[in-house]
């Protein structure tokens, strides 16, 4: 397996993908918190984002300044091709494992 992706990294990648053109710090944080029901600190989130960027799974750019946020610009993220490949690989791995362990994983009623 080429790039190792951690669970949280995967979560962030998928969230960025789901947010589309509106993927920036706070939006990602809120989205994950809402869906995963867990509390994330900005530090943790941005650290992960930084690592992903360094692995070239995402790229970023600064948006235009707006009236909000004291005129400060947002940094937007989107997946790179490598990022998408990585997500596919991990999904393939998971699917394979799911398939193999169908019987065992049936939830008892």
């Amino acid at each position: 397996m080429k790039g190792y992706i951690g669970e949280f990294e995967e979560l962030v990648l998928l969230t960025i993908a789901s947010l589309g053109e509106n993927a920036y710090g706070v939006a990602i944080k809120e989205d994950i918190e809402m869906r995963a029901d867990r509390d994330i600190s900005l530090g943790a989130l941005h650290s992960t984002i930084t690592r992903l960027e360094e692995k070239k799974f995402i790229r970023s750019w600064l948006g235009e300044p707006t009236q909000e946020r004291g005129g400060r610009r947002k940094r937007f993220f989107e997946l790179t091709h490598q990022g998408k490949v990585a997500l596919h690989e991990i999904k393939a791995l998971r699917d394979e494992l799911w398939k193999l362990s169908k019987a065992t994983l049936t939830l008892a009623k």
Partner: protein
């Protein structure tokens, strides 16, 4: 949406975050923090939101994200710098880029500042040197010299010397005086070590009291300072003198012979006096004992003012209260003053002597505070000229910077930032200029040292020198940069960016500054011309004696008792026309040229302050008048045919007038008191007037010709020889004869005209200095003008193009462009001329005999400046005028 407009994220957390992140880019993170905070406000209490904000800030601070961003920022050019330093660095970079882009501008500014800085440095060195005189004395603030002023009838004298008894008597009467000492200067001596044969001429020999070491900080290397000069025949010598006579052996206890008469024993060796001392003794001889000097020192009357007297006050003593008691003291010993006569003692602080004292009887020629001020003013003016170059060029090229200013303002620069930026640029230029100035000054020190006859040296190893230079750079850059930076930073961004650069009225100011530059240049030039003309006048003035072709053989007394024989031997040399032996020469200054005056009165009157005439009393021989070429206007000169001439006198015209001898002075008699240096009031001596010579300049041209009387007498200071043709063979023969007749004594000669010229060494020095200063001022002003023409003709490129298309000739355009500067120089001339007139009159007032400064000098200075300015503007004017109009009109 709930609005809580007053609630803001916790300030402290914000600050902490910004501080911690320093220059890393955190705009997005900061934005996230704030957005999150306001979102939280809708969900929770303000308190919790703030707490959350803190939490996120801290999480970010410790996060990998921020660590990486900080690392990345560390590779940024302005890494590690705060926002302010970053701007400073950016200003520096822009400043340097501007310099490189406008090379001529940089060269003009830096060059001008470098030249003026070097001149300023030289002048400051000179001033510091002059002001450092006598400061080596640890008790300098308590040492005072006694000055003596008296008026007696028509005689008035202000002297650095006092009666012999003044110092010691003062000490006895006033307890606030701790100690006193005196110097008696008897001129030069021919000195040899007791065993040696060859004598050496010593110029700096002073007779003094044993207390001299208590008052002046002379460092005694060998011997006992307290006892060295207490006994007769004791002599203290400087280290260099000890080495000269005794080599490396200890000089202590050795004997020296002065003028083959005085045998003195070395009792102390002291460290050479520093150059910055108002006297430079190489030999200090004790005034104790029983030789003429010692006898004179014991004279208790209140006359014979020959002693330079110094007092040392006790610590804490009040000098003013002592000074207040002096009139009573003088009255007690000199008797009460009558009519207009008076006598007065005054105290002069030691540290004032060098710059503030030009009295009769100074031990050495002192400096002059006027020249210190004058040169300081020159230094300031030259520096201002360079500053003006900077101001003019900066405003002239403001069009080029206008866009930059506009854009900076649009991007949020405030005026203060821009002012700071331009001041920094001015600082860069000044700093560069002054750095070059140090090198230039180093080159100039040799020149200035030789002109000023002072050992000037840049204190390159002293930290304070650089600190002072730093401060000076700051001040000058502020001076030069203040105006341009305010003008440049004042542009309105909208109009500037639309292409409308309003130069407004600063053209007027610029013209004013150019006028100022040329006013200073013309002033200095007139000054240089004037001083040079006066020096030439001094050289060529008819003096009443013939100064050319006269050889002076010095120290003829070494020939004793054969000076007469030497004279006849000299007369046998074919080229020699006549010879004379006399110590009195119509040249003044220094211990080589003694003067002697005495009071005489006309026979038939009682001596009183009304009719006593203080007159130069010169002892000469029969051939004096012929050899010096004096003009006998009445009667005759001395002659061997008249034995009675030993009681005869030849007066100069002024002398005959002063005695009131009428239209026929020949045969009348004048009288004086008998006795030698100490007058004997009871036995008058009479002399018959046998002739009158025309007035001749026996003193400096700064003074009126005074009364003078020639007597037959022995005085063997010089053998003067009038010769024809080439001096070389005459000198060779004179030297050979000297060696035969005065073995072991140094043969020293000079020429009368040379010695005469030496009297005006100060003026010649001034002439050279003014020439140099004027040249520098004109050079700096002209390089400024050169650059200024470049900019103005560039600005008028279109205008010139259109003029040419419409038929203007190259000549007329050159004339047009140069015309503007011509106008400015004419204005400068109109301003400078009256100022120069006042200055010239002030300086020439020093001289009783002075050159008539005509309008020619002013016209010459004005024209010269005009021509130089024309030549400098010519290049750019001509280039602009001869450019192809098609090109200049087409280019946008």
């Amino acid at each position: 949406m709930k609005t809580k407009p007053s609630v803001k994220p916790p300030r402290l957390a914000d600050r902490l975050f910004e501080w911690y992140c320093n220059n890393a880019s955190i705009e997005d993170l900061h934005g996230d923090l704030e957005e999150l905070f306001f979102r939280n406000l809708e969900k929770m209490s303000v308190r919790r939101a703030k707490w959350n904000y803190w939490r996120h800030v801290l999480s970010l601070i410790f996060s990998y994200a921020l660590r990486r961003r900080k690392q990345r920022a560390a590779f940024h050019p302005y890494a590690g710098a705060s926002a302010q330093t970053a701007m400073l660095l950016s200003y520096l970079k822009i400043g340097f880029r501007n310099l490189v882009r406008n090379k001529s501008y940089a060269v003009v500014n830096i060059g001008g500042l470098a030249i003026s800085g070097a001149v300023g440095l030289m002048i400051l060195l000179f001033i510091a040197h002059e002001r450092s005189y006598d400061r080596y004395n640890s008790k300098a603030d308590r040492i005072y010299r006694l000055n003596f002023e008296h008026r007696f009838g028509e005689n008035h004298a202000h002297m650095a010397t006092t009666p012999a008894m003044a110092a010691s008597t003062l000490q006895q009467e006033f307890p606030e005086i701790e100690s006193t000492t005196r110097f008696l200067d008897y001129g030069t001596y021919l000195v040899r070590a007791a065993e040696a044969k060859e004598s050496i001429k010593e110029y700096h020999v002073l007779w003094t009291d044993s207390t001299v070491f208590k008052i002046f900080s002379l460092q005694v290397l060998e011997g006992n300072a307290n006892k060295a000069l207490a006994d007769p025949y004791g002599v203290a010598i400087s280290k260099r003198t000890a080495v000269k006579y005794f080599g490396n052996a200890s000089a202590l206890g050795k004997s020296l012979v002065l003028d083959n008469r005085i045998h003195a024993q070395v009792t102390a060796v002291f460290e050479d006096l520093p150059a910055v001392s108002h006297f430079h003794a190489d030999m200090l001889i004790s005034l104790a004992g029983d030789w003429p000097a010692a006898r004179e020192a014991r004279f208790s009357g209140f006359s014979n003012n020959n002693f330079n007297s110094y007092i040392l006050l006790r610590p804490g003593a009040d000098v003013h209260s002592l000074e207040a008691k002096l009139p009573a003291f003088v009255e007690k010993y000199n008797g009460p003053s009558k009519g207009g006569d008076f006598a007065r003692l005054e105290l002069m602080p030691l540290l004032d002597i060098h710059l503030h004292s030009q009295l009769r009887g100074e031990l050495e020629t002192n400096g002059d505070i006027t020249y210190v001020y004058l040169f300081f003013a020159v230094a300031v003016f030259v520096l201002i000229i360079a500053c003006i170059n900077f101001m003019n060029l900066a405003t002239a090229q403001s069009t080029q910077r206008a866009k930059e200013v506009g854009i900076r303002k649009v991007l949020g620069s405030q005026r203060g930032h821009l002012v700071r930026q331009f001041l920094l640029e001015s600082f860069i230029i000044t700093g560069a200029g002054f750095t070059v100035a140090i090198g230039l000054a180093q080159l100039l020190t040799a020149l200035f040292s030789s002109i000023l006859q002072k050992p000037l040296q840049l204190p390159l190893t002293e930290p304070w020198f650089y600190a002072a230079l730093g401060v000076a750079t700051g001040v000058v850059s502020l001076l030069a940069g203040a105006y341009p930076s305010f003008v440049l930073s004042g542009f309105k961004p909208v109009s500037v960016l639309k292409g409308r650069t309003s130069l407004r009225s600063n053209g007027v100011l610029r013209s004013g500054l150019v006028v100022f530059q040329f006013v200073v240049s013309i002033l200095l030039m007139v000054g240089a011309f004037t001083v040079n003309q006066q020096v030439a006048y001094i050289q060529n003035k008819k003096l009443g004696f013939e100064k050319d072709h006269v050889l002076l053989v010095k120290d003829a007394y070494a020939l004793r008792p054969n000076s007469g024989v030497y004279k006849t031997e000299a007369a046998k040399i074919p080229a020699v026309r006549s010879t004379t032996v006399s110590g009195f020469i119509p040249v003044e200054g220094g211990s080589d040229f003694p003067r002697r005056d005495r009071s005489f009165w006309k026979e038939g009157t009682q001596p009183s302050s009304d009719n006593l005439v203080n007159i130069q009393q010169w002892s000469v021989d029969f051939d004096y008048i012929t050899t010096l070429g004096l003009d006998v206007v009445d009667g005759r000169g001395f002659s061997e045919d008249f034995p009675s001439d030993s009681a005869a006198v030849v007066l100069n015209k002024t002398g005959a007038d002063r005695f009131g001898l009428g239209s026929d002075p020949i045969g009348k008699r004048i009288a004086t008191f008998g006795g030698g240096r100490v007058p004997d009031f009871d036995h008058p001596v009479f002399f018959t007037v046998i002739g009158v010579v025309d007035d001749f300049h026996f003193s400096s041209l700064k003074e009126n010709i005074g009364p003078l009387a020639l007597f037959l007498g022995k005085s063997d200071g010089f053998v003067s020889i009038r010769f024809d043709g080439d001096p070389k063979p005459v000198i060779d023969k004179l030297e050979a004869t000297w060696k035969r007749m005065a073995p072991g004594q140094p043969f020293q000669y000079s020429f009368l005209d040379q010695e005469y010229g030496r009297m005006y060494a100060g003026e010649q020095r001034l002439a050279k200095l003014f020439g140099i200063f004027a040249a520098f001022a004109v050079i700096i002003a002209c390089i400024g003008l050169f650059a200024l023409t470049a900019y103005t003709s560039q600005q008028r490129t279109k205008e010139i193009g259109i003029r040419k298309v419409l038929g203007a000739s190259v000549a007329s355009i050159v004339f047009l462009l140069s015309g503007e500067f011509t106008k400015l120089i004419v204005i400068a001339f109109v301003v400078a001329a009256p100022l120069a007139w006042v200055g010239v009159r002030w300086w020439l007032e020093n001289f009783t005999y002075k050159v008539d400064i005509g309008l020619m000098v002013y016209a010459a200075a004005g024209l010269l400046v005009l021509v130089i300015a024309w030549l400098t503007t010519w290049y750019h004017s001509f280039r602009a005028a001869s450019a192809d109009p098609v090109k200049s009109i087409r280019t946008e």
